[in-house]
Symmetry: C2
Subunit: 419 residues, 2 copies
């Protein structure tokens, strides 16, 4: 089946906000095996919105609209869709009650405008909104389907996952099932070359690579009559990928991020951790601390941006700084070791590099970064050459630091071999 | 004039990347006074791309396409546009030479595919690409205009600012001129209520608010026959806004971010700075360190996530932690003061709060954050209540910390009054 997305909102046409909803829905639909050939954005304007929905209905089976379900007079999506599908608006007692409860629970007064949100196109399927007042709606007629969803991501995402996903899956013959194999510390082209035969030869399941900063995800997707059958198709391919990439795979769980995998590894081994950052200036610690529960293992983070602070806080030697420079293997090593000595942490990670735009030289160009990791007294330092602007170099450094931490802990604790 | 955007790329339809180009171009076009009623996304498919361009040309004066200018066979934008505009492709010597130099400088080999990138539609205006191999192109015919730009943001942004902007401005009778007044530490509804009369009553210039995390930007835009005339229209409105918001305006320069304003203020006053963060876990330091040149003033950052580290590294008293809890005015104060004593920095900032999802209570709910700022021995602590998820609460905390730093430094050094 072919799905098409229409995002409604003048704020998108003015560039005030980035259209993350389209990316979210596209990814979700792709994972369900639906084809999407067009996305579009229109403003809160009845005539243009009508035209956009008509065009979409002519060329696609399912049209998903986001936005324009709010209580104000600007919000026209529901009215426009109802008119086009010839389904007059009627008051929905269930939705009205939910909206009343929503306001009561928050001690807020409900306005007549909010009552308008309980009006639904006659015959529509209502999707409860657990995080706002606008219900989602599915309008079916003559084999065409309009799905109306709220614009705020914190309302859209749970509604999609809880209601829309199973609805879309039920429309297809059989089901789509996918597993994601997440690899860190390898470039996209290397990963792709290692699985090119699988990408080329397979049709069900398919293997597709997705590049992230410092990571590559391989998604294995199968279509089958039921989940059991699909799993049977996917399983040997995932096994083959595990054979090929071994310990460079950090998870096959879609919900687990690289930093979550690292924190889980530290918690599982009861290893405390401290960070010491120069060019990344706290980004590594910030990413670790974004994981709820990190407090079990995170001791302290240090940002020693200046040479003086590198000496004062972790005891990097003046002579080392003088002889090798702040961005050097030796300083990365002394930072990691000094941090371990002072914080008494089991694992310490140091980052020192040149993020640019200034500060580079022929010998030490912008993008040169050293990362050190000390696990229980054993220190490894690696040299990296990243490209891109200041922000990109810092992001790449953080991903590399997480990858190195994971590798050092695994190598210390088990007989794991990396490529 | 009416402009329309088409983003080309299957990776957008699969949700692999977020369409930040559309937001960037929409914002730029809005600032130029161009109306944009539609954005769309199509894949690398000739038939559908042709249809999308035709539809756009029928309803808009200018169509900006991004993506699909690469060297591979997937990349079809140029070929499709040239065919539609009936402008056959010819080899452009100037572009070919630039591409050859690009590869030579990088020590890379140039393939025949790359030569293809120097083909241009006969009669097109060529826009040099300083950051990649695909030149931008402007195709004009019968009063319609197609503008073809590369997809990678690091190529697109400079090309737009250096070439496309002035081209678009030249198409309009007269010019559009805007100034942005950036306000921190005030909510959007409060700012809007303070300028509602200006928003309602003015047509040239117009005043429009844009909300960012912890900031509100007011854009004043005038249309006039030349820049001098436009400035004359804008100036009194900006003056009026300065009267109303006073020191809460941190800049009227579009290139200056809040962290840049804070760093500039510290550099101008020769004040060194150190940070000590709990729930934000390094995000505040990371934002400061994103400003090139911060090394002049930034001494150290500390991330004391655990109670133990708060005691050990900045000497927060055990009794204070016991009596008031880690998230308290008293602890924020001791963190800022302790950091000042240890680092000998002129300015220190502390953040301690509950970012969730766990750890909240009736008395201290998720979103409660204390931020302390010590300037040369004088310490101020403020209490905040932020909403949203863990990431949003942390972001809001960082914006509030920057705002508080700015305010404390200004109040210490000058007779500035804040609302």
């Amino acid at each position: 089946m072919v799905v098409e997305l229409i995002s409604v909102g003048t704020e998108l046409l003015l560039g005030n906000i980035v259209n993350t909803n389209a990316a979210f829905l596209s990814e979700q639909c792709a994972a369900l095996g639906l084809s999407c050939y067009y996305q579009s954005v229109v403003g809160d304007n009845k005539e243009r919105l009508t035209g956009a929905i008509q065009t979409a209905l002519n060329r696609s089976d399912i049209v998903i609209l986001t936005g324009g379900l709010g209580p104000t007079t600007d919000d026209l999506t529901k009215e426009t869709a109802a008119e086009l599908m010839e389904m007059p608006l009627i008051m929905d007692g269930h939705s009205l009650e939910r909206i009343e409860v929503y306001f009561k629970e928050r001690g807020l007064e409900m306005t007549d405008n909010n009552k308008k949100q309980a009006l639904i196109p006659d015959g529509a399927i209502v999707l409860d909104n657990d995080n706002g007042t606008a219900p989602g709606l599915i309008l079916e007629k003559n084999g065409k389907r309009l799905i109306l969803l709220p614009g705020p991501p914190n309302e859209l995402h749970p509604m999609f996952k809880n209601s829309v996903k199973s609805y879309l899956a039920s429309l297809e013959d059989g089901i789509i099932y996918s597993r994601t194999v997440k690899i860190c510390g390898m470039g996209e082209s290397k990963v792709a070359s290692m699985v090119q035969d699988l990408i080329d030869s397979q049709t069900n399941p398919t293997v597709a690579p997705y590049a992230k900063t410092g990571e590559v995800h391989l998604r294995v997707t199968a279509r089958a009559k039921d989940e059991k059958q699909a799993q049977k198709l996917v399983k040997p391919v995932v096994k083959e990928l595990k054979n090929r990439f071994g310990a460079d795979i950090y998870t096959t769980d879609p919900e687990i991020s690289l930093e979550k995998a690292v924190v889980d590894l530290l918690v599982a081994n009861k290893l405390t951790v401290s960070t010491i950052e120069s060019c990344t200036g706290g980004m590594l610690a910030a990413r670790l601390i974004n994981i709820p529960g990190v407090s079990e293992v995170f001791k302290t983070g240090h940002i020693t941006y200046s040479n003086k602070s590198k000496r004062k806080f972790v005891g990097v030697k003046k002579s080392t700084l003088h002889k090798y420079g702040a961005v050097s293997e030796q300083v990365a090593k002394e930072m990691a070791n000094g941090c371990a000595a002072i914080t008494k942490s089991d694992v310490t990670v140091s980052v020192t590099g040149i993020a640019g735009p200034d500060g580079g030289s022929d010998e030490k160009p912008v993008g040169l970064v050293y990362i050190g990791c000390c696990v229980c007294g054993k220190t490894v330092v690696k040299e990296y050459h990243f490209s891109g602007n200041r922000a990109k170099i810092r992001e790449s450094s953080v991903a590399a630091a997480l990858t190195l931490m994971r590798r050092c802990v695994l190598e210390y604790y088990s007989e794991v071999t990396f490529r």
